[in-house]
């Protein structure tokens, strides 16, 4: 974390320079110094040293906003401003966010805290913040025009309310919302319970992230804000795989993952190797009797889901949105299906005109992950990310739950690839085919009753 002064010295100055409105230092006197984050890495949990104690969360590829206590009130300072977000190494997006990053920092408070949030608008247009899911006075709900005047460019507004309800929440603008959300303005909010809560368990690891989606033309930097459904960048906290950090746990840790959805479609979030329960929504903790086991939970638009499980099984377990296109990075949505198309001779013809042309898609899209071909600048291959056994062929909303026996408590660093014990991995069958036990009525020829003619791909051709 860097202070505002350092920030101006550093690379982040670009983003400050593009801020259309400047806010004078004098006008900021007396406010909590805004803290700016320039790194896209997952920051260690922010242990509270003032105010009521609580067990902090870890924001995936994000951070928690520090506060100051002022006569018993927790004061935060959010600065709405243009930022450069590294969505994956080598792929930067020009977004709008808070305090140097998009999404903005996570705000963590404790049930019953009195919270005062200064919001300084360094965007080129007015903004406001809506505190999604909070019980608060109507005038603090942040809908520009309805509850308040929008915060003009260059001005600082104050929101103040009591964090009444423990749970998982978020914040986002409610002024020119379409543009500002498409540009990445959003953040997480966690209200920890003050005392032991019958429906809220203590956990060893508490992760949170937002689902967000962008339409960034390959080679460009700014999301297309007019896009309604046809997004090409599906992200956890504005990061795409392999740019997303893994969720790590020590074996038998109780793990909570909080997910909020600010995209324009639902996301069935799926965990491998474990079953979990949905223990809470943005409406609050789910009564124990109402929980049921899942391996996939659908997070609808504008919803939050809080899942919990025991990380009982060692390994590197995939954790992702189950919409297969959401685990892809930017790709053409109008690319013809080349599957099974014989390219012989035509390739030679095309190559004489386009020497760099290579056949792709004839056997499927896995070629894409295998071939390392030059791409437009500032984008990443549609599926990529190498595992210990080759390409993972995933992008977008994909990461891993890494469960290790010896992961120290409080250590969130990536433990590397899991070493599978001898004999616990799928392997190639090379022995004789055993005659399976069959029903007596089954024909012994082994041929299906109806033969379907399908052109089978045979080997690699045309490469």
């Amino acid at each position: 974390m860097v202070s505002r002064r350092d920030f101006f010295m550093g690379a982040g100055a670009i983003t400050a320079a593009v801020a259309a409105s400047s806010v004078s230092r004098v006008s900021l006197a007396g406010l909590p110094e805004p803290v700016i984050q320039s790194s896209p890495e997952t920051m260690a949990p922010l242990e509270p040293n003032t105010g009521r104690p609580y067990k902090p969360v870890v924001t995936l590829n994000g951070w928690t906003l520090p506060w100051r206590m002022n006569n018993g009130v927790k004061e935060f300072h959010l600065v709405a401003e243009p930022v450069v977000r590294e969505m994956a190494p080598g792929f930067n997006a020009h977004l709008w966010g808070y305090n140097g990053q998009s999404p903005g920092p996570t705000i963590e408070v404790v049930e019953g805290d009195r919270v005062r949030i200064f919001v300084t608008n360094k965007l080129p247009e007015h903004t406001s913040i809506h505190w999604h899911g909070q019980r608060l006075p109507n005038g603090m709900d942040g809908v520009a025009g309805l509850n308040q005047r929008a915060i003009p460019a260059g001005k600082t507004y104050v929101y103040e309310f009591e964090a009444k309800r423990p749970g998982t929440f978020m914040y986002h603008p409610h002024a020119d919302e379409m543009v500002q959300m498409a540009m990445g303005m959003m953040g997480f909010w966690v209200t920890h319970p003050r005392d032991a809560h019958p429906n809220i368990d203590e956990v060893d690891r508490d992760y949170c992230f937002l689902l967000n989606a962008y339409d960034v033309e390959p080679g460009s930097y700014t999301p297309k804000i007019m896009e309604m459904l046809d997004f090409n960048i599906w992200t956890f906290n504005s990061r795409v795989f392999p740019g997303i950090d893994p969720l790590v746990a020590r074996k038998d840790d109780k793990v909570r993952i909080r997910v909020g959805n600010l995209t324009m479609t639902n996301h069935p979030i799926h965990l491998h190797g474990h079953e979990f329960e949905v223990t809470g929504t943005d409406g609050g903790p789910v009564p124990r009797g109402a929980r049921w086991p899942e391996v996939t939970t659908d997070v609808a638009v504008g919803q939050m889901r809080q899942i919990e499980f025991i990380a009982s099984d060692l390994g590197d377990w995939a954790f992702h949105c189950h919409k297969s296109h959401h685990t892809m990075n930017a790709m053409g949505h109008d690319v013809p299906t080349m599957l099974g198309v014989d390219h012989r001779k035509v390739v030679t013809q095309i190559n004489s005109l386009i020497p760099d042309y290579m056949v792709m898609g004839e056997r499927g899209m896995a070629d894409m992950a295998e071939m390392q071909m030059p791409l437009p600048e500032n984008t990443i291959p549609m599926m990529t990310g190498d595992g210990p056994f080759g390409s993972v062929e995933m992008g977008g909303m994909f990461t891993m739950l890494k469960v290790r026996a010896d992961q120290p408590a409080g250590d969130y660093s990536d433990p590397g690839w899991y070493q599978q014990p001898e004999g616990t991995q799928a392997f190639e069958w090379t022995g004789p085919l055993q005659e399976p036990s069959r029903f007596k009525s089954e024909a012994s020829t082994g041929k299906p009753a109806v033969e379907v003619q399908v052109r089978k791909p045979t080997g690699h051709s045309g490469h």
Binding site: D334, T337, M360, M365
Partner: protein
Amino acid sequence: MNKTNTALARLGSTGVLLLTLAGCAGLAPQSSLEQVQQQSAELTGQDSLHWATEQDQPPVVRERIAELLAEPLALESAVEIALMNNPGLQARLFDLGIADAQRVQASRLPNPGFSIGRMTRGSEVEWERGLHLNLGSLIALPLTRRIADGQNAQVQREVSLSVMRLATDTRIAWYRAVAAQQSLAYSEQVLQAADAGAEMAHRMAAVGNYSALQKAREQSFYAEAALSHLQARQEQVASHERLVRLLGLWGEQTNFTLPERLPDVPAEPLDQPDIEQQAMASRLDVQAAQQGAERLATNLKLGKATRFINVLELGISNNSSNEEPVQRGYEITVELPLFDWSGARMAGNEARYMQQLQRTAEVAINARSQVRESYQAYRTAWDVAAHYRDEIVPLRKRISEENMLLYNGMFIGVFELLADAREQISTVNRYLQAQSDFWVAQSELDLVRFGPVTPSEANSASTTPASPAGGH
């Protein structure tokens, strides 16, 4: 007798002098050819003019042409062949011979007349002999010769211009032929891209990935490309034939090849602020018009000088009789300018002179205008070609490179890539047309310094369609 003898002797010696004068104007067509050679060389850069005086080409010429045609035909080789071999030019060269003959004719004295009469009176026989010479022609001779010389010079100029025009036409035809040949190669590439697309679509439909509509759409690109290819082939044949005609070739000779590419457009255009002044000094039509005017002025002077003299006839008489001593003397016949004081002729000459003055002014004004127009056409052609070279083609290339990257990332498919390839090829083809237009404009600018040019072809040829069948 003494007196008349002397007179006769004097007359005789004048005659000899005149004959000598007339005699030094011999036939010299070869020097006319050299003049033409000299005048045209500045544009043609060639010294290959010759008379086809015999029915068959001399072996030297035949061999030289064969030698030039054996290699891919270079631009200046084409000009050399045209100057040696174009039958139209050969026909034109004979104008030099005709003019030269006329010049010599004009400088000869009119033949004197001789009269003889025999008269008898009784036993007396009287012989009357007379030698008559038209004095007017004699006096006018130096002027007439100047006029004839001028006429000869004018023909030389016209022939020179024909030579330069042929050289220019040949160059233009050469540029067009090379460009058409290159264009044909590009259209083959477009056809190939469209063919690949059609074939791919066919195979996609065969495995069930494409609908009949999608397949038909790709095939229609191919059909259109085939059409453009036919047109390109026609243009190639037509331009080749035009060059063949200018080179005067036939039979086996027409199978020559051309270089693969047009020369590059120069990095910088010619900057010629004083091109108008230069052209005024070098334009042959301006010179001819001026000389025409001078000749008419001389004619006018001649008319004035011979106004009365041309009705004067000097005769020498020698009358002898068997009875009398020889009677010698001379007689002068004077036509009384009673009815024709030559006023009408004078007025006509004057009008013709004034007419020629106006024509000269017109020629000069047109020449200046043509030079400016040609230079402007040249500059525009350079600007267009350079814009293609420096902006459009590199951008198009950049687009193709970026499209290749998009294809690599599976952002676009093979059909977009093929459509882009077609697009790129036709852009390069349009650049080629611009290049060819530039060289035509350059050739016309070269010629306009010597004679009239209608800057025509440069703009008409670049009507290649923007791009075949839009794409996706």
